[in-house]
Assembly symmetry: C2
Homo-oligomer: 172 residues x 2
């Protein structure tokens, strides 16, 4: 449901083609909003039908892409959504489900699961840290908030790593 707003958010900065939109999302919000290609195009179609986005084929462009713009109505919807207090979200975590019933498969297999996850978490933490290090710390509110979304990911992988290690120790 929020893909609408993710797209409107990007279009509030500058016009994008569907393709560029997808690339931009992959490069910035992928870790908290992975965008499926088909879904991006379908949502764009929907946004256009709702009058929140307008299209304009680029004249004289070598590529046959369609530039998408946020309309006034689109920006108004975006801002209303941004201001609405976010409801608590439910999450589904298959990994925790495995842990919950892990007693069935024995400590060795559970350890393997935890260690695999630890390796992934370490890699992700390193990635987040590298990106964070390359980003300037101050700046205007937008810069601070964009950095904050990255730090959020970092804090959560850190928490996950700590939890994995304490769980491995607690295991009999």
């Amino acid at each position: 449901m929020s893909l609408r707003f993710a797209i409107l958010g990007f279009l509030s900065v500058k016009p994008f083609s569907g393709y560029d939109l997808r690339k931009a999302m992959d490069a910035s919000v992928q870790h908290f909003w992975p965008a499926d290609q088909a879904q991006v195009y379908r949502t764009l179609t929907r946004l256009i039908a709702d009058g929140l986005v307008a299209v304009q084929a680029v004249e004289g462009d070598s590529r046959q892409r369609k530039l998408h713009f946020a309309t006034q109505a689109g920006l108004a919807e975006l801002d209303a959504w941004l201001r609405a207090i976010a409801p608590v979200e439910e999450t589904r975590e298959p990994f925790l489900l495995k842990m919950f019933f892990g007693g069935r498969i024995g400590a060795a297999d559970v350890r393997a699961q935890l260690q695999a996850r630890r390796a992934e978490a370490h890699a992700l933490r390193d990635t987040f840290q590298a990106i964070a290090a390359s980003l300037p710390k101050g700046g205007d509110i937008s810069a601070v908030l964009r950095r904050a979304t990255l730090i959020n990911g970092l804090r959560h992988v850190e928490a996950e790593i700590i939890w994995i290690d304490e769980t491995l120790e607690a295991l009999p």
Copy 2:
């Protein structure tokens, strides 16, 4: 997709009716696998069709419920899933999306968002802590792992609270 395995997991412990299953899930795995009533029944139907679950109406029961059992095939599928290394999961977090584009609405509204989330996080942390305090610390591998899933939730809300506070401070 994992609801299948959540259900098989519960049925590996003891037989359940659809209704009791839902209640049991709400009472134990809700924070990482919220179960929709309709979905539980539909998945049960599917599991029966696949031969992983068997039903048996309870004789002489005052209620008209159907008891569901995991079959041998069901338990085998469960164990295979438990042993398969969990792939990295993608997550979608509308709240971070709001933060990412928060620059549009100004610091005051962003603060309001963060403070609302902090209140929710504190409440959740208190709940997790209360439950964790009531749970014995040691026990067999199953007990340790079940407690661990709760601690996982706790560690992540704690991380979220820390992040909220540091973000509020970083805000101009």
